[in-house]
C-alpha cells in the first residue's frame, strides 16, 4: 500500500512538470503579450501610450526575455509557492485568487452535494420502477435538464426571481460585503444567494447522473447474484442496497477525478451570467487579456486537482472493490 502510494506520488512529479510546460506553451500561443494587448486597447480608446513606460514595464515584468527564461522563472516560483504577478490586478496572483478560490470551492462542493442528493434517489427509483409513470415523468424532466444549456437556465431563473421576489440575484452575496473579509454576516448572505447557482449548476449534472445511475443499476439488477440474494430470502430493499447498488457505484467513484477540476474552471459561463465571484469568469478574463501568470496559475491549480482527484478515486475504488485491490486476473 505504502509502496504503491509512494510510486503514484513520484509519477505525479513528471506529470505536473509536463503539464506546466504545455500550459505555458499554450498561453504563449496567441500573438502578443499583456502589454501589446494593453497598448492596442489604449490606441482603440484614442489614447497614446507612453513608450518609455511600456518599455519599463516590459523589463519589469520580464516580458523582454525569451519564453524559456520566462517559463523557468514562473516554474521556479511555483516550486516555492510563488504563483507570480498578475499584470491586470497589479497584485500577487495568490492574493487575487485567494477569496475566489474559497467561494469556488464552496459553490462546487455544494453543487456536487446537491447533485448526489437529488440524483441518487431519483436514479434508484427510475431503475427499480422501470417504465412506470414515475420513471417516465422523471426521465422527461431529466432530459429537459440535460438538453437545456445551464446559462439559459441561469437567465430564466434570474428573470423569474426578479419578477417574483423583486430582488436581483446576481453574485454570491450582497454587494455590501464585496470588499469585506469573510465574516458570519457575510456567510449568512452567501447562504441566501448561493442556492440559485447551486441549482443551476447542479441541474445539468443531476440529469446526467440520473441517467447514468439508472442505466448502471438496470444492468446490475438483471445479474444472477441478485436472484441469488432474493433466493436467500433478503427483502427487496436490503437486496438492492447490498448488491446491485454497491456494484453500480464504481463509475461514480471513478468520477471523483473529474469533479475536482470543475471546482476551478467549471461553469465559467454560468459564473459570468450570474456575475459570481468565482474562478471561472476570472480565468476567462485572464486568458483574454494575456494576464499569463494569473491564467497559468489557474490552470496549474486545476492540473494538480486532476492528478490528485485521480489518485483519490483510484484509492477509493481499491478500498471498495476487492477485484481491483487483489488484482483479479479474470472476470469470467
Amino acid at each position: 500500500m505504502l509502496a504503491y502510494l509512494a510510486r503514484r506520488l513520484l509519477v505525479m512529479i513528471p506529470t505536473l512538470v509536463a503539464i506546466s510546460a504545455i500550459v505555458f506553451f499554450i498561453i504563449q500561443l496567441p500573438p502578443g503579450d499583456y502589454l501589446s494587448t494593453m497598448v492596442e486597447e489604449l490606441l482603440a480608446q484614442g489614447e497614446k501610450p507612453d513608450g518609455d513606460r511600456i518599455r519599463m514595464l516590459r523589463e519589469q515584468f520580464g516580458l523582454d526575455r525569451t519564453p524559456i527564461e520566462q517559463y523557468l522563472h514562473w516554474a521556479g516560483g511555483l516550486l516555492v509557492g510563488d504563483l507570480g504577478w498578475s499584470f491586470e490586478y497589479n497584485l500577487p496572483v495568490s492574493q487575487v485568487v485567494g477569496e475566489r478560490l474559497v467561494m469556488s470551492f464552496l459553490l462546487a462542493f455544494a453543487a456536487t452535494l446537491f447533485t448526489y442528493i437529488v440524483a441518487f434517489p431519483i436514479g434508484i427509483y427510475s431503475a427499480v420502477r422501470q417504465y412506470s409513470v414515475g420513471d417516465y415523468a422523471l426521465t422527461f424532466v431529466g432530459f429537459i435538464g440535460l438538453a437545456t444549456p445551464s446559462f439559459l437556465i441561469a437567465l430564466v431563473v434570474m428573470h423569474f426571481s426578479n419578477v417574483w421576489f423583486g430582488a436581483p440575484v446576481g453574485g454570491l452575496y450582497d454587494p455590501a460585503y464585496a470588499e469585506q473579509p469573510l465574516s458570519w454576516a457575510k456567510f449568512v448572505s452567501v447562504l441566501g444567494h448561493i442556492w440559485i447557482p447551486i441549482v443551476v449548476i447542479g441541474l445539468s449534472s443531476t440529469a446526467e447522473m440520473i441517467r447514468q445511475l439508472r442505466a448502471n443499476l438496470l444492468d446490475e439488477l438483471q445479474r444472477p447474484y441478485v436472484v441469488t440474494g432474493r433466493a436467500k430470502g433478503l427483502t427487496e430493499g436490503r437486496l438492492l442496497f447490498r448488491y446491485p447498488l454497491r456494484m453500480a457505484l464504481n463509475p461514480f467513484i471513478a468520477d471523483i477525478g473529474s469533479i475536482l477540476p470543475k471546482l476551478i474552471s467549471g461553469s465559467a459561463i454560468v459564473g459570468v451570467v450570474l456575475s459570481l465571484p468565482t474562478n471561472g469568469p476570472m480565468l476567462l478574463r485572464a486568458l483574454q487579456s494575456h494576464d499569463m501568470y494569473l491564467a497559468g496559475s489557474f490552470l496549474m491549480i486545476e492540473a494538480v486537482l486532476v492528478v490528485v482527484g485521480m489518485l483519490i478515486s483510484d484509492i477509493a475504488l481499491a478500498l471498495l472493490d476487492p477485484r481491483i485491490r487483489l488484482g483479479a486476473g479474470s472476470e469470467k
Partner: protein
C-alpha cells in the same frame, strides 16, 4: 401431509407476457418430490424446466406469472402443514421465510451467481443471519463447518476470500454451501455442473450425493444431461416445450422409454459403446447435397500426399505473462506455460480430436495453427499440395493465400455471426475478401453452400437472428466451406447446442468430411463427442500432450492417469454404467506433480512421449520402460 410428499406440483401453467401476447412457457405440469429423494427434470433449452424451478422459489421474472395450478410445499419446520406457493406473494414475508431455510437453489454459473464484492464467508453466512438468531461467533462456526463439509481445504481462510480468487470448482462448492447453510428440506440444483469440466463435474455430483445423505434433504435436479440423470436421480420428469412428456423412476425411464421424444433423445446422445459404423439419430437429419462448384476441387496427386502429412505441429511452446499481485503490492510477473512442447501430425482426410479441460491450452494450439498467435518456439508445417510450408515463416502474400486452406468453426453460433449482415453477405464474405468469382458465381456458390448444410437457399436475405442456434452453426459451417479449404479447425462446435441439435451437426460434419475430403482438427472437452467423430485422439493437460492414440485404442486401453480420470468422469446415460465416484482422484488428476510414477512431472526428470506401438504414444518420465508405463512390473 397425507401422502408424505415434500413438494407436489399440480397442473401448473406459467405464462410470459411477450409484446402484449401471453406465451405459455409451462403448461399443465405435475410431479412430486418425496422427502430425501432426488427428482430430475430433464429437457432441452426452452422446455420450461428452469421456469418451474423459479416458480417454486417465487423468483420468476417480472413478466411471468403462474396462471393455474398449485405448488404445495409441506414445510417440515412448520409441522408439515401445506403451503401453496402459487398463492404466496413473491415479495411477501411468508415467501421470504421459505427461501433458503425451506427451499434453496444452486445456480449454474458459480461466478455470476456470487457477488464479486463480498467475501465467501459473508455471502454464505447471510442466509443464516436472516433465518436464525445466532451470535456472530456461532454463525462463523456454522459457516466454517459448512465450508469444510463442501470440501474447502482451509475453511477459516475461505471465509475471507472473494469468489474471483477461487477456481470454478471451489466457487460451485461455495454456492452449494450457501444453499445448504440453513439445512433446507429441498434443494433445487439448476444445471449445477453444466459450466464445469467433467472431472470437476464428477466431484460436485459426488459432493451433492454425500451431502444429501448426511443432511437428509431432497434434491430437485434440473439438467439437460441424461448422463447426469442416470447417475443422480431416483425419479425423472422429461419435459419438452413446457409439457411433461414422460415421468417415472430412473430405471424404468432410461431402460424402457415409452414416449417418442425420450426415445429420440436417448438415440441422439453419443455413447462410448457405439459400434464403429453406428450413427446418431437426430430429431431431424440433414442430407448434404454437393453441387458442381464445390465438387470442382483439384484432386490431390500421390506425389502431393507423399510430401508429408497435411499438418505437422512440432514442439509448439507458448507462455503468457500474467501480472499477479495486488493493486497496492508491487506487481510480480508470472510466466505461465500455456502450451509446452506440443507436437502432432494430421494426415489428409482424418479427424484428430484434441481433448482437454478448460485452460489446458487446446484453444491456444488451434490459434497458433491459424497463426492468430505466434509461438515462442516450434513450427507449424502445412502441406500445400506437395510443397511443405512453415506457417509462421510466411510473408504477407503467402499468408493471405494460405488463409484459404484452413478455416475455422467457432463455438458460439450467436457471437460468431455479425447480426447486421444477411446470411448471403456472411457466407459470401470470404469470397469477397479473396476476390473469388464474380457476382453470379458468388450467388451460385452461396446457394450451393446453403443446400450443403441443409438450409433453404431462399433464406439468404435473412439476418442471423431469425435462425435457431443449430441453424446458425450451420451458417458458420457454410461460411467456413466457402473457400473450399483442406483443413477445418472446429473449436468446440457443438458444446453450445442441445443434444438433438448436437447429433445433427456432428452427423453433418461427418458427412461433409466424407463428401468433400476434408480434414478436421476437432477441439472439444466432451470425450463422448470426440469419440463419435474423431479417428485419432490427443489428450492435453496443463499445456502438454499427455496421450495420443487411435480412437478405439484410447478408449479400450487408456494408459495415462489423466486420460483414465477423464474417461472415468464422463457420466453415461446407461443406468448400469454408473460413475465410480469413489475412484475419482479427488481433483488430483489434473495436477502433473500428483500423477503416479512414471508419469509424474515435478521437474526432477525430463519427460517425453513414449511410443507404445500402433500410433499410441504417452507422456512419461525419461527412462521409463514400456512395462513400467503399462504397469506390468510395478504391480
Amino acid at each position: 401431509m397425507p401422502d408424505g410428499d415434500l413438494l407436489r406440483v399440480e397442473d401448473v401453467a406459467i405464462e410470459f407476457r411477450v409484446h402484449d401476447t401471453l406465451v405459455r412457457a409451462v403448461d399443465g405440469v405435475s410431479f412430486r418430490v418425496r422427502p430425501g429423494s432426488t427428482v430430475a427434470i430433464v429437457g432441452e433449452s426452452g422446455s420450461g424446466k428452469s421456469v418451474i424451478s423459479q416458480s417454486i422459489l417465487g423468483i420468476l421474472p417480472k413478466t411471468a406469472r403462474i396462471a393455474q395450478g398449485r405448488l404445495l410445499f409441506a414445510d417440515p419446520r412448520a409441522g408439515e402443514t401445506q403451503v401453496d406457493i402459487a398463492q404466496l406473494d413473491p415479495r411477501g414475508e411468508a415467501m421470504r421465510r421459505l427461501r433458503a431455510a425451506g427451499i434453496s437453489i444452486v445456480f449454474q454459473e458459480p461466478m455470476t451467481s456470487l457477488s464479486p464484492l463480498h467475501t465467501v464467508g459473508d455471502q454464505v453466512g447471510e442466509a443464516l443471519a436472516l433465518h436464525e438468531t445466532l451470535t456472530p461467533a456461532e454463525r462463523t462456526e456454522r459457516v466454517e463447518d459448512m465450508l469444510a463439509r463442501v470440501g474447502f481445504p482451509d475453511p477459516v481462510r475461505a471465509m475471507r476470500t472473494y469468489p474471483f480468487e477461487l477456481s470454478g470448482g471451489l466457487r460451485q462448492r461455495a454456492v452449494i454451501a450457501m444453499a445448504l447453510i440453513c439445512r433446507p428440506a429441498l434443494v433445487i440444483a439448476d444445471e449445477p455442473t453444466t459450466a464445469l469440466d467433467v472431472t470437476i463435474q464428477a466431484q460436485i455430483l459426488k459432493l451433492l450425493q454425500d451431502l444429501q445423505q448426511s443432511l437428509g434433504m431432497a434434491v430437485l435436479l434440473i439438467t439437460h444431461d441424461l448422463g447426469v440423470v442416470a447417475n443422480m436421480a431416483e425419479e425423472v420428469v422429461v419435459m419438452y416445450r413446457g409439457r411433461v412428456m414422460e415421468s417415472g423412476t430412473r430405471d424404468d425411464l432410461l431402460r424402457r422409454p415409452q414416449h417418442p421424444y425420450l426415445k429420440a433423445l436417448l438415440r441422439a446422445v453419443p455413447r462410448f459403446d457405439m459400434k464403429p459404423d453406428e450413427r446418431l439419430t437426430p430429431l431431424r437429419e440433414i442430407k448434404p447435397e454437393t453441387g458442381h462448384l464445390l465438387a470442382e476441387q483439384a484432386p490431390w496427386t500421390p506425389e502431393a500426399d507423399a510430401a508429408g502429412p497435411l499438418l505437422a505441429v512440432e514442439g509448439l511452446t507458448r507462455s503468457f505473462v500474467t501480472r499477479k499481485g495486488g493493486f497496492f503490492a508491487a506487481k510480480t510477473e508470472n510466466r505461465v506455460l500455456a502450451v509446452d512442447d506440443v507436437g502432432f501430425e494430421l494426415q489428409r482426410g482424418e479427424c484428430l480430436g484434441l481433448v482437454g479441460e478448460s485452460g489446458c491450452g487446446k484453444t491456444t494450439v488451434s490459434k497458433m495453427i491459424l497463426r492468430a498467435l505466434a509461438p515462442d518456439s516450434g513450427k507449424v508445417l502445412f502441406n500445400d499440395r506437395g510443397t511443405i510450408r512453415d506457417v509462421h515463416a510466411m510473408g504477407p502474400e503467402d499468408l493471405f493465400a494460405f488463409r484459404r486452406r484452413i478455416q475455422f468453426i467457432f463455438q458460439d453460433p450467436y457471437a460468431s455471426l455479425n447480426p447486421r449482415m444477411t446470411v448471403y453477405d456472411l457466407i459470401a464474405e470470404p469470397l469477397v475478401i479473396h476476390s473469388i468469382g464474380d457476382e453470379a458465381y458468388r450467388r451460385e456458390m452461396v446457394a450451393e453452400l446453403m443446400k450443403l448444410v441443409g438450409l433453404d437457399a431462399r433464406w439468404t436475405n435473412r439476418y442471423p437472428h431469425s435462425f435457431s442456434g443449430g441453424q446458425r452453426q450451420r451458417i458458420g459451417i457454410a461460411r467456413a466451406l466457402a473457400l473450399k479449404p483442406d483443413l477445418l479447425l472446429c473449436d468446440e462446435p457443438v458444446s453450445a447446442l442441445d443434444v438433438s441439435i448436437q447429433a445433427q451437426i456432428l452427423n453433418l460434419l461427418k458427412d461433409l468430411k466424407q463428401q468433400l475430403g476434408l480434414t478436421y482438427l476437432f477441439v472439444s472437452h466432451n470425450l463422448a463427442v470426440v469419440d463419435y467423430i474423431a479417428d485419432r485422439i490427443a489428450v492435453m493437460c496443463r499445456g502438454r500432450l499427455v496421450e495420443i492414440a487411435p480412437r478405439a485404442q484410447l478408449f479400450k486401453r487408456p494408459v495415462h492417469p489423466y486420460t483414465r480420470a477423464l474417461l472415468a468422469a464422463v457420466p453415461d446415460p446407461d443406468p448400469d454404467r454408473r460413475l465410480d465416484l469413489g475412484a475419482l482422484m479427488e481433483g488430483r488428476a489434473s495436477k502433473p506433480e500428483a500423477w503416479p510414477m512414471p508419469f509424474r512431472l515435478d521437474g526432477t526428470a525430463p519427460a517425453g512421449l513414449v511410443d507404445l506401438g500402433d500410433g499410441h504414444r504417452v507422456r512419461a518420465r525419461q527412462g521409463a520402460s514400456i512395462d513400467q508405463i503399462l504397469g506390468r512390473s510395478a504391480a
